[in-house]
C-alpha cells in the first residue's frame, strides 16, 4: 500500500537545541498531519496542513513548533527550542483529501529523546 516515510527514525538531542523531523508523504496526497505519542499514552493530534497553510492545530502545538513543506519536498516539523516534555514518538500522516472520512496513511514514527 501507499507508504509514508519518516526521517530520522530516532534522534537524541540536548534540551534547547533545534530539531527537524522530516516526512515524505504519499505522492498524490494533499493533506499532511503530525501526531505526538508520549510513552504509554495515546497518539494525540498536533496539526494538519494543506496548500501551504496550517488548517487545524491543537493545544499541544506550542509556539516552539512549526511546520512547512517547501516546494513539494519533505513535510517537516521543527521544534525550536526543544524541551524535555517534547520527548515522544512523532507520527506523520497524509491523506488524499480533507474530511474525516479520508484514510490517513501513517509513517512509522520518529522517536525523539530530549536530554
Amino acid at each position: 500500500g501507499p507508504k509514508v516515510l519518516q526521517i530520522p527514525s530516532h534522534q537524541i538531542i540536548d534540551m534547547g537545541q533545534m530539531v527537524t523531523l522530516n516526512c515524505d508523504p504519499v505522492s498524490n496526497h494533499l493533506y499532511f498531519y503530525w501526531y505526538k505519542q508520549i510513552l504509554g499514552q495515546q497518539m494525540e493530534f498536533l496539526v494538519n496542513f494543506y496548500n501551504g497553510k496550517v488548517m487545524e492545530k491543537s493545544k499541544l502545538f506550542k509556539d516552539q513548533f512549526s511546520v512547512e513543506r517547501p516546494d513539494g519536498s519533505y513535510f517537516t516539523l521543527k521544534i525550536q527550542p526543544t524541551a524535555l516534555e517534547d520527548s515522544a514518538v512523532y507520527f506523520c500522516a497524509s491523506s488524499l483529501d480533507r474530511g474525516s472520512g479520508n484514510t490517513l496513511y501513517f509513517g512509522e514514527g520518529s522517536r525523539l529523546i530530549v536530554v
Partner: protein, 113 residues
C-alpha cells in the same frame, strides 16, 4: 478531556475465538469512526471505518458496530488468529471540513494458540 477512550488496555483471546474491542466517545459531532491496527515499531494502518449513517459494517472477519445513542463503537474479529496480535486503535472524526482524527489509547490484543 479525553474525547475517545478505550477502557481496556489489553485483551487476550484464544485462537478461533471472537475478539471484541470497545471504544467510547464524547463528541456528538463525530460522524466518522475507524479502527487502526499497529504492530510494534510500525505505522498504524486503517482496518475498517464507518460513517454515522450506518450502525454496522462488515468486511471479512471484521465487523464494526456503532451505537450512536450510547456514544460507543466496537470492533469484532471472528476466527481470531495469532497474526491478529497487535495494538488496535479506535479513532473518530467530526467532519464539517475537519480533517483531524482523535485516537483512543489503544488495546493490546493477544491471540493465543
Amino acid at each position: 478531556g479525553q474525547q475517545v477512550k478505550q477502557s481496556s488496555p489489553s485483551l487476550t483471546v484464544q485462537e478461533g475465538g471472537i475478539s471484541i474491542l470497545n471504544c467510547d466517545y464524547e463528541n456528538d459531532m463525530f460522524d466518522y469512526f475507524a479502527w487502526y491496527k499497529k504492530y510494534p515499531d510500525n505505522s498504524p494502518t486503517l482496518l475498517i471505518s464507518v460513517r454515522s449513517n450506518v450502525d454496522k459494517r462488515e468486511d471479512g472477519r471484521l465487523t464494526v458496530f456503532l451505537n450512536k445513542s450510547g456514544k460507543h463503537f466496537s470492533l469484532h474479529i471472528t476466527a481470531s488468529q495469532p497474526e491478529d496480535t497487535a495494538v488496535y486503535l479506535c479513532a473518530a472524526g467530526a467532519g464539517g471540513g475537519s480533517a483531524k482524527l482523535i485516537f483512543g489509547e489503544g488495546t493490546k490484543l493477544t491471540v493465543s494458540s
